[in-house]
Structure formats: C-alpha cells, structure tokens
C-alpha cells in the first residue's frame, strides 16, 4: 500500500506514504502556519510554528517533520495550538525591527501575515534588539539583519538550489546571526547573485536592492513570461508598476526552472528601459543618422531592396534572422526573404553555435535537437558534460548538475580543457587539448567495446553501420589517445568504465564541441557513444546539446536556415517546396542559400548587395571581425532592425526600432524543445514596433501583403505547414507549454525523442577520424586562444551590458592566462597586454588563473572594447559551416 488515509481537522484525505503532514495539508488546501518550511528545500523543523496535535500522541508535533501514517487524526488549530503559535511569533517580533512602513516586503511578508492572522495586537515582551547596519555591498541584494528571523530558508536555498553555500549561521543561542562567507560583505564571497535567497526569504531581511522604493507588492501588475536570455527558458513573473518592470520572480510552476533563476533572468531586465533604446526609425544621410517616420523608412527599405533585386537578381540579397525573436517572427522573416527577396539566403546565429549539432544529430538520429528533457537529468546515473561551462552559460541547468552531484549521488564526468566550476563537482575530469575531441571520444568507445561494456542488443536492433564504425574506433587505443589529447590512459579508461557501466548515461555538450572545424565530427562521435551504450530513447539518457539563445531552437525549427523550411523540411525537395508554394501562393527558389559566414564573404566580394539583419550583431559575434566590417561596409544597402544601436546597426543605412521581449506576444522554444508562451507586459517603448509587424509592413510594400492580426494566427499557419509543430496552438500553451514533436491537436508533446525508433528509423553509426584544428600555435603565434562567456553577460552584450547590475558586476573583459605563462611573459594580474592573431589585434586586461593550462589563453567575446572575435579564425566546418571559435593561434605582448 502506497497510500495512507488520514483526517485533518476531521476531513478525510489520502496521501502518499512518506509524505509529511505539512505536504498533505498544503496539497489539500489546508493552511498550517509555517516559517522555516518551504517546498523544494530540505526540512529544518526549527521554527515550531507548524505544531499540530495528533490524536493519541502527547503534546504537539511539527507538521513539517512528521510523516503521515494510516488512520492518523490531525488537528491543525485550536485554542492551545494558537496560543503556542502566538507565543512564538511574539518572541520573534520582540527581536525584530518593526519597520513595516517602509519595508519592501510589506504586503508580502510571511511574518506580518502571521501576526495578523493570529491577531497579535500587542507584544508581551520588551522589544529588545540592537539595530545592526544593513549590508549593501552586493549589486543586487540588500541584507537587513534586523529583519532576519533565522528561519534558515536562504541558507538552504543557497546550499541546495544554487549550491554556492555562501550563507550560514554564526554563533549560538540568542546571539545567532546570518553570515555570508567568513562574516564578510556579500560582494567578497562566492555569491553569484542568483537571488534564490531573496525569493525564499519570508521577511524583508533580504530584498532586491535596485527595487527599493520603486513600488509595493500591491501596486504591481504581474505578468508571466519567459526569460529573454538563454535557452533554458526559465519562466519568470514580471512585477510592473507604471509600465516599468521593477522586480522579477522565478515561477515555481515553470517546468524547467521550478522557480529558480540566474542573475540575468532575475536582475538583468533593466535594459528594457535603458535610455539607449531606439525609439524611432533612423535613416543615414551623409554618414549621419537622422530620425525618420515609419512610412519614410519602410518605403525606403522596400524601394531599395526592390531596386537591388531588379538590378542584381534575388541572390544578391540576404537576411539574417534572430534567435532573440519569437518563433512567429522567425517564421515570418524566412517567409519574407524566400518570397519577397526570392532567395534562400537566410540564416541566423545558430550557424555560429549549434549548426554542427543540427547537422550531426540529424544525420545520426534524424532530429537535430536535445533528445531529452531538462528535468530528466535527475534520472541519470552518470552525466558526461563536455564543452559546456554549464554553470555560467546555462546556470539553472548547471546548478541542477551541482545539486545532483552533491545531494543525489549522480556521477559527473567533465571533459574540458579549462578548469570550470563543474570540474570541482566531477568524479572524473578529463582535460583534453583543445580540438582533440574526436580522439578522446573514440578512445572511450575503444575501451567500452574492448571491455564488452557496450549494449549489444541495442546496437543490433536499433542501429546500423556498426562494423564500419568499429574498425575506425579500434585504432584509438588509450595509449594513442593519450598522445593526441594529453588525457592520461588510466583516466580515460576510468571514464569509459563509468559511462559504459551506467544504466542511464546522459551526454551534455555545447560550444566546446560544436565550434570547431570538426564540429560535426565531434557531434557524430558523441552520438556514436550514446548509441553504443544504448543511451538513447529512454528517460535520463540521450545526447543533449544545450542551446544558447532563448529562442535559437525555435529560429532553427521555423526555418531561418538556408537549406530548410520550417520543420527542417528540405528546400531542395520538390515535393516539400510545392507544399509551401501552394500555401504561400508563390513560386519559391529551389537553390539552397548561403550561411552567415558565407553571406559576409559574398558581401565583401560584392556578390551580396543588400542585407536585412533582424536582432543580430555580427560586428561582435562573428569570427574575424575586420573581415566582417569589410563585408558590411561593402554592401549597397544594409537594414538593421534592433532595439539598440549595436555595433552592426551603426553601419546600417536604415535602422528600424524593434521591441524587447517584454513588449511582445509570441512563443520561444527552449533548449529541450519546449514551446512556451510569451506575454506582452508593457507597450512598445517610444515609436518602436513589434518585429513581426515591421516584417509585415515591408512585405506589403514589396508586393506580398501579409494579414495576420496576432502571433497566434501566425502559429496556426506554422502548425499547418510544420509537422513537428502540427498540434501547437496558442490555446494549448498555458503553463507547461508543449515539447515538439507535437504532430496533432490531441498529441501531448514529446519529452524525449527516439523511443523505440529513431526519427530516421535506425540510428546511424558514423566512422570518424581525428583531424587537428585548422590553426594551431606556432613560433610566431605561440598561444592557443579559446573564447567563451561569463555568467553575467550574454552574447554580444547588447542587452546585458545595458543592465546596471550585470555590467556593474562584470564591467570588462579579460584574458585568462596560466601562472607559468604569465611568469614567462613577466605580466601580473590586471596588467594590460596586446593580443594579436593573423587577423587582428586588441588590448585586454590579464587574469592569471589555473583555470587554463600552459600554452592556452581564454577570452570572453561580450565586450566591444576587447572584442575577441577580432582575433578568431573564420575557418569553417565543411559540413555545418560553423567557425572554429575555440581554437586560434595568438601572440601576447606586454604593454
């Protein structure tokens, strides 16, 4: 029997065995006062407010710690219980700063509510607390020790959700107080400003520093929507006063974030109201921007593009769509380019991050997306993370990994050239030389096959081409692999055994795997590994690329790619094309278009004359920036649609002001294929317009009117043309959203792919040999440069650098260098150096750290002042056309 019958206040309820009285009561809508208990955190049982009486047991017991048993009779409130609770609250109040008048928590304070509910008019004890100063060293958190009731929720949130363990209690008895670090200011600790502690604090002891005096709980309009930063797709609740976002909370029901957020999602929203927002169209006259009317700008854009098309042909035009924009906007954008420009020259920044994933996984499995869901990681026995600095790039997922390793016994294998935060939580860390991924993955499989650890049944029944693949893998003995990768033989063998023996092994990867000239090969190798061990098609397994941008998955799904229409349907297939031609009522070009880097190349050669860029910033994001500038400057006509005058927009002939996520409706698809609804929270700033409306206006002026009244209508059209989105309609997207493939209205969506059968039928093993990176260090350029991100910024920083707290925490870029190399070059921390490659040079500050190995340096690419992509190489993966951001050769000089 797994259910238990009991009564609470005479009401008969059923509960799962092992649950506590508190959980059962809450689930049944019965309120039991509590302060130290919070759903999702471990149980402290310290405040004693939840005391209840249980028939047949003496005294009272804490509801949050007592498990229910059959026939239990619980009373949650009577005179005696209430009296005891009153006493506790009065004792707490006697040590509390009574500051409700100006307290940020007024109206949403659990202590205040309790005092009210228990009818505490007067406190029987003298109010005796010496007033301590508040602590405001953090950019985002204000700590008022005088309002802390020592419930410990923040301590547990920090330790269990974010797993930073910054907070704890010091001293004992009545002298107990909350500390961070060694009783240091928060700013000097390991705090990552996630704000989990604020969200859980029942009182005003921890509050949002920047929201101070900006509004009170009852004044806020609350709108649920999706975080605009990364692909985790956290659900957020905006708290808005006078059309201004003041605070953000994580939505507890959010299927992937469960209330948790990272610093960007919680505190990085203020860019929406930044003074730099573009509020009106701009047209460049004699090198200077002048404000223009919408009509003027739109007419000019349409006329110019038409002219260029007539003069040079359709393929002289191209468009770059945006992984920041909604699904509906991406759909319209590619539709517009294909119809009005008449070309398939449409791509977006997915080319720069996961093109190789899409290419590799489509080939091996038939679908180029994350195979499993975020919540399934807890079901895995072993998680192999490679080329993903998860705690900085996908923090909410990174924190799950830390939590699982620390509390759940899940084993982490991390394979990364850098010492990242996750390596501290890993059972095994393999430090490969950058760009040698195929070799170590083949090495793992070599051991797994030799030791008979592979899943023969799966290989036989569900895959093909095993023998060919096996031949290649047999060459990669651990000894040989050590020579190529630098990973010691024994460590490789240990990792192979750990992954090979796991019942459920999950593979997670990101840019460290994809951004190589061998990106597709790397992905194919990971797919081989998963298939070899039968780790596909079950919960908690799979090959899981973590997608970067909030909607990069969606932008790919909706066909903002040069070779496929929405739903990865091949442009080159006549039957597919005809289907789109019929629905759209036009002839469509059959030739596949150019990719991002190729478009820029073609522009510098004069082959592309006109370019329409929506919400992308190639002038920082693309490799070899000097070359990008050359290309963009060589265009006859450049239109940039964005919310800020980005480095790219500055080069434009016409700038069209789009809107931020908070000003529009639509959907984003997160990294685990979950399509989630965005709600419009505030009206467009200034004269800016929703991006989908702007596209419609240009389309109309180019002779193809579009008549959608809402993004919901656009989605209906998407559903009719895109089998994987076939059952996706706005009315179905409340709460949990839907995970594609969702082929029909009745279909519940798909948490994990390839159950029983791969999308392509059988899983395809591909033999892959190791090929070294395109450019390796040599005498002239002796260092290997790798690029990446930091927690506090996103992509080219056009949003995050305009957020006061985010830019406040991380105002500048840096170059990570090993202590050995720093010594050799005689440079100290914070010294400035000049870094140069064959393509460009820049100045940057130095950070000396063990995180990078000798001979390797690392730079972030967010900062225009030290734009790493001036240096990077635009050597491409031959299949996916993704550039090799992770390996280029540079030299470093003291200045």
């Amino acid at each position: 029997m797994n259910t238990v019958n009991l009564t609470i206040n005479g009401k008969l309820v059923q509960a799962e065995k092992g649950s506590t009285i508190m959980e059962v009561a809450l689930a049944n809508g019965i309120k039991i006062p509590h302060l130290c208990y919070e759903k999702g955190l471990s149980i402290a049982g310290s405040c004693r407010l939840c005391m209840v009486k249980i028939k047949g047991r003496p005294g009272m017991e804490a509801a949050c710690t007592t498990e229910v048993v059959e026939k239990m009779k619980v009373i949650t409130s009577d005179e005696e219980i209430d009296e005891a609770r009153k006493l506790i609250v009065e004792l707490i109040l006697s040590e509390h700063k009574h500051d409700c008048l100006v307290c940020e928590s007024n109206g949403q304070c659990e202590l205040q509510d309790l005092a009210y509910e228990l009818g505490i008019e007067k406190i029987r004890f003298p109010v005796s607390k010496s007033i301590e100063p508040t602590e405001d060293s953090s950019q985002v958190i204000l700590k008022d020790p005088n309002k802390c009731i020592l419930c410990g929720r923040c301590v547990r949130a920090c330790a269990e959700i974010t797993v930073q363990r910054v907070l704890d209690f010091a001293a004992r008895g009545s002298g107990t107080f909350l500390i961070s670090g060694l009783d240091q200011p928060l700013v000097d600790t390991d705090c990552v400003s996630c704000g989990a502690c604020i969200q859980t604090c029942p009182t005003g002891a921890l509050t949002e520093k920047l929201a101070r005096f900006q509004g009170r709980s009852w004044e806020f309009r609350k709108v649920q929507t999706i975080c605009p930063y990364c692909g985790v797709g956290c659900q957020i609740e905006l708290n808005i006063k006078n059309d201004k976002i003041v605070k953000v909370y994580g939505v507890e029901e959010g299927p992937d974030n469960k209330g948790h957020l990272c610093v960007k999602g919680r505190f990085g929203f203020d860019y929406v109201h930044h003074k730099d927002r573009l509020t009106t169209p701009l047209i460049k006259h004699n090198g200077k921007f002048e404000e223009a009317s919408w009509d003027g700008a739109l007419n000019l854009v349409a006329t110019k593009f038409k002219e260029l098309k007539d003069k040079y042909g359709s393929d002289a035009l191209a468009g770059l769509s945006s992984a920041k924009c909604t699904n509906e906007e991406n759909y319209l954008f590619q539709k517009f380019i294909r119809i009005c420009f008449g070309t398939n020259n449409v791509d977006h920044c997915a080319r720069l991050c996961h093109a190789s994933t899409v290419a590799g996984l489509s080939r091996a499995f038939g679908s180029g997306a994350m195979t499993n869901s975020i919540w399934e990681f807890e079901k895995a026995d072993v998680i192999l993370v490679t080329g993903s600095n998860t705690t900085e790039t996908h923090p909410v997922i990174g924190n799950y990994f830390k939590h699982l390793a620390a509390y759940n016994g899940t084993k982490l294998i991390v394979v990364d050239p850098r010492a990242i935060e996750l390596t501290e939580y890993a059972e095994i860390w393999l430090r490969q030389k950058s760009g040698t991924d195929v070799a170590w993955i083949n090495g793992l499989m070599n051991v797994i096959i030799n030791e008979g650890l592979y899943n023969k049944e799966f290989v036989e029944n569900r895959t093909e081409n095993f023998d060919e693949f096996r031949k290649v893998v047999s060459k990669y003995t651990p000894g040989k692999v050590e020579k190529i990768t630098g990973i010691p033989e024994e460590k490789l063998i240990a990792a192979a055994r750990m992954y090979g023996k796991a019942d459920r092994g999950s593979i997670v990867f990101a840019m460290g795997i994809t951004q190589h000239t061998t990106g597709t090969d790397n992905v194919l190798s990971l797919a081989n590994l998963a298939m070899l061990c039968g780790n596909v098609g079950r919960e908690g397994t799979g090959v899981n690329p973590l997608r970067g941008q909030n909607n990069v998955q969606g932008a790919c799904d909706l066909g903002a790619l040069p070779d496929v229409y929405p739903g990865y349907q091949k442009v080159s297939k006549a039957q597919v094309r005809e289907n789109f031609e019929t629905t759209w009522g036009v002839k469509l070009p059959p030739k596949e278009g150019l990719t991002v880097v190729e478009i820029i190349d073609a522009a510098s050669k004069g082959e592309i004359k006109g370019l329409y860029i929506m919400g992308e910033n190639p002038m920082l994001s693309d490799p070899n920036l000097n070359h990008v500038r050359e290309g963009l400057e060589n265009l006859d006509f450049l239109v940039v649609q964005d919310i800020f005058l980005t480095e790219t927009a500055e080069l434009a002939d016409v700038v069209l002001p789009g809107v931020s996520f908070a000003e529009k409706e639509g959907t984003f698809t997160n990294t685990c294929r979950r399509i989630q609804l965005l709600h419009k929270a505030i009206p467009p700033i200034g004269k800016s317009r929703e991006d989908w409306k702007i596209i419609m206006e240009i389309s109309k002026r180019m002779g193809y009117p579009m008549a959608y009244h809402s993004p919901g209508e656009i989605m209906d059209e998407i559903a009719s043309l895109t089998p994987i989105y076939g059952g996706v309609h706005f009315d179905r997207l409340g709460g949990q959203g839907l995970q594609w493939p969702c082929p029909s209205r009745e279909h519940p969506g798909t948490p994990y792919l390839h159950k029983d059968k791969f999308t392509r039928g059988k899983g395809l093993f591909t033999p892959v040999d190791y090929i070294p990176p395109a450019e390796l260090p040599d005498e002239e350029y002796p260092f290997l440069l790798s690029t990446g991100r930091v927690l506090y910024h996103f992509h080219t920083g056009s949003l995050s650098r305009r957020s006061k707290p985010l830019d406040g925490i991380a105002p500048e870029g840096f170059l990570e260098i090993s202590p050995q190399d720093a010594k050799k070059l005689r440079i100290k921390n914070n010294d400035w150096v000049r870094v140069s490659s064959r393509r460009g040079k820049l100045k940057v500050k130095v950070k000396i750290t063990h995180h990078v190995d000798k001979g390797v340096v690392f730079m972030t690419f967010h900062f225009a002042e030290s734009a790493a992509n001036l240096l990077t190489s635009d050597a491409l993966d031959p299949v996916a056309k993704i550039p090799e951001y992770k390996v280029s050769a540079v030299k470093i000089e003291r200045i």
Binding site: I179, L182, D183, D190
Partner: protein, 145 residues
C-alpha cells in the same frame, strides 16, 4: 572536490589549527584552509568555529583560563575565583593580559562538578580551587617560558 562532506573532521581540524597557533586562536587563513580540507564552504566553517566556545577567532593569551560558572561551581564560589583571577591578572573576563600570556574566559560545565569550583587552562582541568591554589598555579605558569 566539493562533494565530500567531512563535517566530522572539521572540529578536529579547527582544534589542531588553534592549538598550533601561539595566540590560541584560529586565523582567517586557517579557516579557509580548514574549509578546503573539510570540503565545506567558508560560511559553514565559520558557523562551526563560532558555535563552540572552545574556539576563538581573535588572538588570545598563551594560556586561556576558562572558569566554569555553571550551577555547582557557582554555588561553590566561582565568583570569588573570578575575582582572584581578575585581581592577579589585572584583566576582566574576556580580556587578555598586556604581555599576551593570559586570557580569562567564562564557560559552562567542565564536567568535574565533584571538584567544584573548577577551571581549565588550555586543555588542563584544575578543580577544588582556592585563592591560594590559584596563585600557586599562576606562579608556576609565569615561571615557564
């Protein structure tokens, strides 16, 4: 690795750190080191170090004299023991002598109530105290270098 929870070791580690320090306290560096060794965070180690009266985070004398003020000792005259010590050492409870040799503290039960009043000097317990006995003990300690 940040996984190992060795909370049991932490008290032993802190104790060792304190004993090895000339001034009978745990330095910030040692706290940090202990955190690393025990696989705890800074705040967790700080929490433990401030929870037990055994530990100090401030420099103390070479000899830490902890006088028991629990019930039995109190009845048997611990107040006068404090008085004698304060007079002899010319410091108050919680203070350290100017030469850095003695610190006077108050603690609760040392576990030898049958020999009340009692005190502990560093790790040595002395019971059945009288003013005379205290002066002798102090004289002995002062002689030591």
């Amino acid at each position: 690795m940040k996984l190992r929870n060795k909370e049991k070791d932490v008290i032993a580690l802190l104790n060792k750190a304190q004993r090895e320090n000339k001034h009978n306290y745990i330095t910030e560096d040692k706290l940090k080191l202990t955190a690393q060794e025990a696989g705890l965070s800074y705040s967790e180690v700080y929490g433990v170090a401030t929870f037990y009266s055994l530990f100090s985070l401030k420099p103390r004398g070479e000899y830490v004299i902890q006088v028991c003020d629990s019930g039995p000792c109190h009845l048997m005259g611990s107040k006068s023991i404090f008085k004698v010590l304060e007079k002899e050492l010319k410091i108050k409870v919680g203070e350290t002598t100017a030469d850095g040799r003695f610190t006077l503290e108050e603690v609760s039960c040392l576990g030898i109530c049958n020999e009340a009043p009692a005190m502990m000097i560093n790790e040595k317990v002395c019971g059945n105290l009288t003013p005379q006995k205290i002066r002798e003990i102090l004289r002995e300690l002062r002689k030591k270098k």
